[in-house]
Symmetry: C2
Subunit: 362 residues, 2 copies
DNA sequence: GGTATATTCTGAAACGTTTCAGATATCTTA
DNA sequence: TAAGATATCTGAAACGTTTCAGAATATACC
């Protein structure tokens, strides 16, 4: 009996059954249906299992048989570590996990490096949540190929998927309208990357919200449209405003944008930032350059991440309930898994939160 | 052919093979070993698969056959959503995910509600990372029962598991020594829950670091011992100090602790907090009560979370590299999975970061 | 033309469970 | 005591792949 080899053989249910001379199904029942066998035999089985070092029914085999993985997969455009530094994403995940936990489901974070999709193809999940992806992203297609229940956040669902949307148009329009009402006429707009190579300062024409950008985040597009609607109503020429495309969504990127805007010579009196992280980075640089906020420059963000309320001055921003978004995504996916009647949920509200970073221009 | 029923039958590799009159193994090879069949046939197979709506080899079956899940599981004492609000845990996860991503491994967040361990028993993973658990926590035992490669963070490993440890004793001693050197003699110590019911203000004797608390976090114990060592060397009586046991690790809990300390009448000149979150909560309350920091009260934290550098005044604290800790955990686990030679890694460094929240007593 | 070598494809045995219809044995009930 | 109900256990068929030794066919070489 050469058993103590380095690569120890895993003990299986069959061996436990053989050791006791009972049927495999009886051992299975000992674990899963205690009412199906006598208490005495069950106890003997569990004891023998412990002696032999049986680790209990192997989840992979059980899952194959039952055709369920007990987890849902979260797919994300950025490299995985990034998600842990993004406050909005974290709140969303918190909400998602809250719902899943109640159903005893796990959350699998799937590494999504472009071009290397093996992890996605092999992910042991019962469904997907797609987040921060554009409709044309290669991972989306691959995920849909899996033909699992799917919910897409901030994206128009394709196929049988469910969409979780927010009223981004309204939120953005409120933000722009607020600044217009305060008397602003010259704007800077700072936004996350929409092209492969972030282009920095851009002309308004090149990113007209109506131009069909090849591969754009829906939320970003909707927000542009909201800004544009407010501009148009006030007779403000979109093409005359200053735009800056960042390389990513981070405070550092926002800071870089602000520096470029300062260098540009054109001096907007108000900044519309497509995320709070960009806004906070820009604010810091503006202050360091001696600008008073909001007297010399008004700044309005988007998302209302926790840091927005704590900055000095506190950031005026558009609030959306990221946690609720995550919870809703989880609920929709669980409903889908149960085969419940299919129904697209209503878009979530977003509303302007007035704080200290916006005021009338001097 | 009643095929379009509600619960659509999943297409399998067998059906694809049958449709083309080729062997199942050939279809499998078309997906996994393109060099094993002619390009022409492979193309036909893939086309037929697409027509039939075959989603590709089902991961569960493949995983069972290959005996690998392609993910590792993270186990956590707190309810799952909590982890997303804990800066130290997030940094750790970021590091962990960074390592895993490089090996195309996913990270499964396992819901760990006590008493309901079904998710843990069924988790489809190749190994575990245990974090923020005490050695006697029921989940630990259950995880070890799975007999998978395991790394335990901030915990002495049992069985074949690997331990990731930090020099907490040194870090804590440095923190206490720093305050002693500044001239402090009366201390308050604020710490996270160590008993089922958090007890608030406690006597020093009841939590003597040498008393064997039944179910304590190792890191917390080591930090106590570090404080105690510094106290003893300076002739400061541990039992005369003021202790407060919080109900959880949060800013709110730290705030509550500070209020209790203020009400107690005893007024320490310095506060040793076992985490930065507790320290920041306490600092806020102290300031609101009119205390100047550090003149009226010095505060030293532990962890060096990002918020520590940004508080006013910036928090003096003990730094540990949470990201590196997560990375190391990932590397150890991957090595274990590969069957590499087993070796306990050295504990990580921790060192005092001097900032503005500590100074000589008035 | 015959042997050796590639190339392409196949069959059957795993992987380790759960499930469910049925086989025994035991208990009620009239 | 016969018949029905109940409790306990069994056997075999899935679940959907991958793997690997070998069969069949084509290609190369002397």
């Amino acid at each position: 009996m050469a058993s103590d080899s380095k690569k120890q053989q895993r003990v299986t249910i069959t061996q436990v059954a053989a050791a006791l001379g009972v049927a495999v199904s009886t051992v299975s029942n000992a674990y899963n249906r205690p009412d199906q066998l006598s208490e005495a035999l069950r106890k003997r089985i569990l004891e023998t299992a412990a002696e032999l070092g049986y680790a209990g029914p192997q989840p992979l085999a059980r899952s194959l048989r039952q055709q369920r993985a007990g987890a849902i997969g979260l797919l994300f455009a950025e490299r995985l570590p990034y998600v842990f530094s993004d406050p909005a994403a974290l709140l969303l995940m918190e909400g998602l996990v809250q719902t899943l936990e109640a159903s005893n489901m796990g959350l699998l974070l799937i590494p999504g490096r472009i071009g290397h999709s093996v992890a996605l193809k092999n992910a042991l999940v019962d469904g997907f949540v797609l987040y921060a992806l554009t409709n044309t992203h290669p991972l989306v297609e691959l995920a849909l190929k899996r033909r699992l229940p799917t919910v897409m956040i901030d994206q128009i669902a394709t196929g049988d998927a469910v969409s979780i949307l927010v009223h981004d148009f309204d939120g953005a329009r409120q933000a722009a309208q607020h600044l217009i009402d305060l008397g602003h006429r010259r704007f800077g707009v700072i936004f996350d990357r929409i092209t492969d190579q972030a282009q920095g300062l851009r002309s308004g024409a090149s990113i007209s919200p109506l131009a069909d950008l090849p591969d754009t985040f829906l939320a970003l597009k909707r927000r542009f449209e909201g800004y544009a609607a407010a501009f148009e109503q006030a007779g403000i020429d979109w093409n005359q405003q200053l735009f800056y495309e960042c390389s990513d969504n981070s405070e550092a990127a926002g800071a870089e944008a602000m520096q470029a805007i300062l260098r540009s010579g054109q001096r907007p009196t108000a900044l519309l930032c497509l995320t709070d992280r960009l806004a906070l980075g820009a604010m810091e640089v503006a202050q360091r350059a001696g600008l008073r906020i909001p007297q010399d420059l008004s700044i309005v963000g988007y998302d209302d991440i926790p840091a927005a309320a704590q900055s000095r001055p506190a950031l005026t921003t558009v609030q959306q309930d990221h946690r609720a978004k995550g919870r809703l995504a989880g609920e929709c996916l669980l409903a889908l898994l149960q085969g419940d009647a299919f129904e697209q949920p209503d878009p979530l509200e977003s509303r302007l939160i007035l704080r200290e970073s916006s005021g009338p221009p001097l």
